[in-house]
């Protein structure tokens, strides 16, 4: 158990830089991730936080090998998956599940909720006893059984995200990537989805990489946090340590920029120049 589920060393991901693409020919490659080192411990939720363009989503996509790294290594559950071809990744996919930001676009509009949740079960050889398995998945996320025959447009945003969670957890995966899964939701719905995920993570002992721009949400849900900026790790530590005693100026700036729901007349005043 001491061995981490993910062990990442010197991870680089390069993608074509379309802003510098010549009219004819290929775009030059640009490093989106600039050599990351970290571990994801088993059975706990790790927060990955950063502003837009920090590379947090690219990192998530590399972990589940939707992207192939250009350098470095990703060891998942004791196995180097850095450059595994898709055919060899396939049997591992059931343990590398995803919950997406926008459940509207990640659920097929022409399939019933039953068939959406059943699809990954079928693909992974768990096609027997589908009814019972889907029923269990629905029950797990607190949706009534009658939802099995509905379509995504008949569901509210929060219900859709529950379906997304049910689908990802139906296979009891070793790892779940959750990329901004509550950022499109109202606060009341957001609280429901987070408490659900929090409960399921504890019950099922899930290892989750929870990508978010919202440090308040991260503090509640995650045991450790990785702060990213411009494709690099700014700071990584246990959650309470990070919030109570942030080591980096950038982390402190991020925290100070969050508008907490309390009156603070000084918040909008120009910052006094910090002596650094």
């Amino acid at each position: 158990m001491a061995e981490p589920l993910f062990s990442v060393r010197g991870l680089k991901v390069a993608l074509p830089d379309m802003t510098r693409k010549p009219l004819i020919g290929r775009a030059p490659m640009a490093d989106i991730l600039k050599g990351l080192d970290f571990d994801l411990p088993r059975g706990s939720v790790t927060g990955i936080v950063g502003e837009s363009g920090s590379g947090k989503s690219t990192l998530g996509r590399a972990l589940v090998r939707l992207l192939e790294p250009s350098a470095g290594s990703i060891v998942f559950d004791g196995r180097d998956i850095t450059h595994l071809p898709e055919a060899k990744l396939r049997p591992l996919r059931r343990n590398l599940q995803m919950i997406f930001q926008d459940p509207m676009s990640s659920l097929n509009p022409r399939r019933t909720i039953f068939s959406i949740i059943a699809a990954p079960l079928r693909q992974n050889g768990l096609g027997d006893n589908l009814k019972a398995r889907v029923a269990e998945a629905l029950q797990r996320v607190g949706l009534p059984q009658s939802f099995a025959s509905r379509y995504r447009h008949e569901l509210s945003g929060g219900q859709r995200q529950r379906v997304g969670i049910a689908r990802a957890l139906a296979l009891a995966p070793k790892f779940v990537l959750a990329d901004e899964i509550v950022s499109g939701l109202d606060v009341s719905t957001q609280a429901q989805i987070l408490t659900l995920l929090e409960r399921l993570a504890a019950e099922m002992g899930l290892t989750i990489a929870f990508i978010s721009h919202d440090l308040s949400v991260i503090r509640r849900l995650c045991r450790q946090v990785i702060v990213m900026r411009e494709g690099a790790i700014v700071e990584a530590s246990a959650t309470d340590a990070l919030f109570d005693n942030p080591q980096q100026a950038y982390t402190r700036d991020l925290l100070a920029a969050i508008p907490l729901p309390e009156i603070d007349a000084d918040w909008l005043l120009p910052a006094a120049k910090a002596p650094t």
């Binding site: 606060v187 009341s188 609280a191 408490t195 308040s216 949400v217 991020l254 920029a257 729901p261």
Partner: protein, 296 residues
Amino acid sequence: MSAVVKPCLDIRSLSAVLPNGQRVLRSVSLSVQPGEVRALVGESGAGKTMIGKAVLGVLPTSVRIVEGDMLLEGEDLGRLQPKARRTLIGARTALIPQDPLTALNPSRRIGPQMTDRLVRILGWSGQRAETRIRQLLDEVQIRDPDRVTKSYPHELSGGMRQRVLIAAAFAAEPRLIVADEPTTALDVTVQKQILRLIAQLQREHGTAILFVTHDLGVVAKISQKVSVLYAGKVVEEAETADLFAAPQHPYTRALMAATPRYTDPFASLKPVDEAVLAGLAAEIAAADQAWRRPHG
């Protein structure tokens, strides 16, 4: 003293319906005093953007106002001829939109897009408009106005685009600005800069702002008054400081408890109690029934 000050915007018992007869605004009353920021806060579907659109006269054609008055600096918008109404709204109000990329024309340079409104709607000379725009770009701390006015929207960052639209909104010295989720699409550090900028310009120009947001954190920082909306109904109205000190309506309390706070992770992010939602549904139903009786 405050009794004799004419509100900049006064909305009285405004109701609007969809073609199927469903009310989307439920007897909304609120006012914005000159130079004051009033926040409209609520979740999606609460009707907060709808109120902003009603004020600006840009409601979708499917939404029909069936009752109520809107007074802009004492002028009853409902009594004006459409052309006079548009002229008045154009001269005295402005909008800071949520998404600067869709609000700007992607195929035109920033400069002419900013001066257009001044020249076409307010009849300023091109030169006067250009001078004014430069002045405002300076006020929103854009250091190289030449480059920015010659840029196309996609060449600027999200924060820069929002600065441009803030400058454009304040340029004609409107009495009232409707700010519709102006920082929702921005990163937190940029959001803080933009909120600070809006607050500063608002103070300096003495502009009233109707500030639409879903974020109670933003409400706390930017506004002096606040109206909490649910399903097109104002469920609570208060001075912002009072609302945070002692929220009265169960829904307001539930919203506050649901809003994440990193300083207090386990006292926040509380799901809204079913009883609160049931209470709201009953409140809305009762209000609709009382409203339908005299309105057939």
